[in-house]
Amino acid sequence: MSDEKQQPARTPRDSGNWAPRAESLQVSAAPAGARNINVAGRQVSGPVQGFGQLWQKTYRVALEGAELEPAVVLADWQANFNDFLPASERFHLPEEGLNPGNVALIDTDIANVPLVSTGVMVLYRDEESFAFMTPEGHPESGWITFSVSPHADGYVVAQIQSLARAADPLYEFGFRIFGSRMQEGIWSHMLTQLAGHYDLTVPVSVERQQVDSKMQWNRAGNIRQNAQIRTTLHTMTTPVRWVRSRIGR
């Protein structure tokens, strides 16, 4: 018999940072005002499952001129996440906080007309970053990481990095026409607001890297789950649901 003792399994250092396995997304308690459609029951969808070209976009802001700790900036960022977004975007963050596996609902309106309702799952969180992963039907298929790190010169850098494809052919068309610019505007706005939180006016840099120029035509059927189409149908059928609810009383 060998004298070697079996080593106990090590607990990975990132244990607890990742969302647990789940068959589909669950929305425990939708916050008041959230449309809460196109999320519950859906699976998450990553860069592998999307349709369009794969892009990695990195937005950075150097918070030079303020003495800040990365952990403090990250906490402020999470606490004010919604306030740092443009008015057209409403993130309904989970009451339990941005814990891995929790779901945030998103409603995007243009001129008070619902454009798309969807959500994200908190994929990952540690003391320096948190990441969201998209559900089926979301305009993008992938994930986005928000992080804060110290720079060698003593200041703090806040970064947003997305790795995603358009989820279906319609979204891909939309991204090429205007969606990509709109998206870059949203995240640049957020970093500008984050800097403004510390009374800083500093430029935001954007790096675009095309990781895969090919489209995944075998994923064209994702359009069945398109949250924008479904949000439009939901809006158009609001009177029908109202009549049904009156009859059902």
Binding site: D14, R21, D126, W143
Partner: protein, 116 residues
């Protein structure tokens, strides 16, 4: 957060197979080393790339993103990407991120080579 060094070695245990032994912390900082290791593989001769995660200590969301970029390059070179050495925790992460839809996971390197 204290980070352990990232290292990746390349081996060729069978004809047409390259194994990338991944060690340490897989974060965004691992990109140059991982990218260089893959770039050093002869894409004409190697048809299967096996990622061996036996010595993986830590991975964050930027680290899993690196696997997506390797997957794209592997697919572009008409190779296949397999994984081995994943403990239950990292296997679960592959499933949560749905990378397991595109990267087949094997319990041992020998199993991965046999399936290549």
């Amino acid at each position: 957060m204290q980070q352990a060094a990232f290292n990746v070695d390349v081996r060729y245990p069978a004809s047409g197979c390259a194994v990338l032994d991944i060690q340490g912390d897989m974060t965004g900082a691992a990109e140059p080393a991982l990218s260089a290791a893959y770039a050093g593989i002869d894409s004409g001769a190697v048809k299967t790339v096996i990622l061996n995660f036996d010595a993986l200590d830590y991975m964050n969301s930027s680290g899993i993103g690196l696997l997506v970029t390797i997957l794209v390059r592997v697919n572009g070179n008409n190779q296949q990407l397999l994984a081995t050495g994943l403990n239950d925790h990292y296997q679960e992460i592959f499933e949560v991120t749905r990378l397991s839809d595109a990267i087949r996971i094997f319990p041992s390197e020998a199993d991965a080579i046999a399936a290549a």
